[in-house]
Amino acid sequence: MVNYTEIIAKYIAGELSDTDKTTFEKELNSNTELKKEYELQLQIIEGAKRLGLKNQVSSSFKAVKTKKLINKVLIGLAITIATIGAVVLVKKIINKNSSEVLYELNEQGNTNWSEADKRLESQVFKLNPLRDTIIETKNGIVFSIPAKAFLNKQGETPTETIDVEIKEAMTASEIIKAGLSTMSNGKLLETGGMFYVNARVGEENLTIDKSKPLNANVPVNNNKKDMMLFKGERKADGSINWIDPKPLKKRLTTVDITKLNFYPEHFLDSLKNMGFDVKNKKLTDSIYYSFSGYCLTEGGSITRQSAAAQPASPSLTDTTKVAYSFEEAEVYHHELNAFCSEIDPSRVKAIWDKKFNNTILATNEFEERLKVIFTTCNAEILNLYINNLNRPLYQLDSAAASVLNGILKDKFLEFFERGDGGVEISDNQNQQLQKYFEEKRELYAKAVNSALEKMYKEENKKAQIASEEYINHLNTESLRASKVFSEEFELNMDEAYRQLGKQRPTKLPATNYFSASITQTGWNNVDKYVIESTTKRTTLDYTDPESGKKAVIKYEPIMITVNNFKGYDKVMCYMIPDKLSSFQLIKNNGNVFKENLNELIKYSVVIVGFKGNSAYYHVIENAKTQVYSIELASIEQAELDKKLNGSFGLNAGTDLTREINYQLFETKEVARKKQIKDREELRYRLSSAVFPCYKPYVSPEEKLRLEKYAQFQVDSLTRELQKALDAYEN
């Protein structure tokens, strides 16, 4: 039996030799069993063919079914674009009177013209096929025809003038007049208009070079998102059936990219509220880009935080200063612990560049998406758009939507449904721009990072110097003050003993008056009162219990107020006593400088105001115990130095000059710190606008977890996005 099958198969396949074949045929006629087997085998072969056919039929059916499903969802604009057939043709022009058909054969090379072909007027444009051409039809369809778009039957661009024939039915009445229906396989379509286009040289049909498609812009009143392009198929009865729907590409209009707003949504508003000139793009850019590296990058590495890790040393003792440096440290603290898988401004700077003009990025549509991309806090979503400049936006929107959740997903779905197209761009250009982006992004990130690093280093250095200066000043000042105090005390003591008519005992050691231990009785009382009087600057009124003699040294008040006190950063007031070697500080309560003057001493009073880098000066010679209201006058620092050195004793002048220079330095230092504080506060306040997902306080464990999660997210996102995009390839 097996032998039968084999030999029958060989016979049927024509594989037998002539002699074998003759033998076989003879046998076939005489051997009924063989004959039966033979017929059975033929039947099986037919069955095998049928099996293949059946499979073919049902697989096509599945394909059609899927397509139908899509049709149900996307029924829309019916535009006919007759693909141009490549068949040679001939001669006779059909009688124009009876019909609008100008040629014998249609684009497919046959004579099957529909009613619409016959009723709609042909518009024929003669054009040079070697040039880019734009033509506009009577109803306003604009075709842009690239050079060499048409090919003749040899597959070459014709050199002679070509005729482009267009028929259009854009209004309801035209459509009805043309007898066009908007049926697609029995389903009614809502139409945005129909047109027919064909190109010829003489009578010869031309084809369109697939790499240079024509672009037809059809005027429609309401651009519905799911309008589609249908192909018209002429039916035997003269009607047209619409098949092969293809989504319409809404080509995007590009604008100058630098005119778009690529900042995060509330960034400019915030700046405006803070009083910045938001029209000054240089300024707003510099503020925005300075946030580069503010967050951890997606690789989890700390960028410039390392440079800012050392806050200015809080060694200052003045309470307001401590507050400053404390807050400064706070700000740094936020940054150190900041975690945000955010879109770094360096990325935005890299694309906000004229280089990206004429890409999908230079469109109002992208500007709108970018606002939402910021709120995803995910650079991968931004990269999706940047890395696929050659794709239409709707594809990227759907890829983005596929990896997002909740409101963000809805947002991107909403974008997707608009069906925004793309901007044509060559692969080469696409690649070059990717490269450009990566290079620039890195460059900007590094530039901002190193600039900030440098700035923070310098600031730390300045803060260091300031604190050293402060300590120096504190030391010299306390020494100087105690020296002056001791001089005044000596003066008072001498006077008290003189009035009591007694000999002063041996002087106490010149240092450490405050802790002088009084062990002797008797005269100790006078000393005690004089110390108290000198320290408190109150009148000494002492009666010697033994002799009844009195010692009186009067301290009487002087009061000074400064006009426009609030206009100065700081006002200092100094008494220069003629009998002592240095100055004494007059304390103030607001604008009231009050001190008691020692009647034994003649005083000059020097008042210095500081404002920014400038100094203001007033001097009261021979100050009396009265109330002064004085006006400060601006003075150059050199002039001030000269005055201070010239007017008073050598020592007092030098000390005062040094003191005032220090005060000037400190004023500047306070201003500098305030500036830093303002800046950091500004950055802090802006950070939520720049980084919508910014989390200032994150524990180290949380940070580690988030970093890991972010890395995982980036990896899986990249995969997911690619998957979503690949879906469009098929």
Partner: protein, 181 residues
């Protein structure tokens, strides 16, 4: 696409584009079947059977299209469904018979009758293993060479594939004999 275009495509073995056009006739057939005690699934099955008969007819060397493709396909499906209903002992509604051209009805009935043994053979083949089915389909329908088939189905040699083919035919013949009895 004209009827002739579709016929040409099928003859050139270009089934996909042809099928795409032919499926535009499915709704009419479906409507009819649904109206006459059929389900959606049955309508699709009948339509596919109709397509198979049509395609088979088209590939015959002496084929001529005696009616419009639309009419032919619709009529085949109607008659096929009539057979199905007879098997189920069910009647049809009055509006069924509207085929006026007696010659066409005869022609189609002949086609359906001619298809019956082939369909039986196909069913016999369906009972074979997957590899046998694929092998025979590739050889007789797709007209691939044994060498190509050997590669595609992973046979060690062309000869091995050939021997397998004989065994498959053998088995199919056995199946067919049993089904005939």
């Amino acid at each position: 696409m004209t009827d002739q275009d579709i016929v040409n495509l099928i003859r050139d073995n270009k089934y996909s584009p042809a099928m795409k056009s032919l499926y535009t006739y499915l709704p009419v057939v479906k409507k009819f079947v649904l109206k006459n005690n059929g389900t959606r699934q049955e309508a699709e099955d009948v339509f596919q059977e109709g397509l198979v008969i049509f395609c088979n007819k088209v590939t015959k060397p002496n084929f001529i299209l005696s009616a419009s493709l639309n009419t032919y396909l619709y009529s085949v499906c109607k008659l096929l469904w009539l057979d199905e209903l007879k098997k189920k002992n069910k009647t049809i509604k009055n509006d069924f018979i509207e085929l006026t051209d007696a010659n066409l009805v005869d022609e189609i009935n002949d086609d359906i009758d001619a298809d019956k043994p082939i369909k039986r053979a196909q069913e016999a083949l369906m009972k074979l293993g997957q590899k046998c089915k694929e092998l025979l389909e590739m050889f007789y329908f797709k007209k691939l060479s044994m060498k190509e088939i050997a590669v595609k189905l992973g046979f060690a040699s062309e000869k091995g594939a050939k021997n397998q083919k004989y065994r498959c035919i053998e088995k199919a013949k056995e199946n067919l004999k049993h089904s005939s009895i």
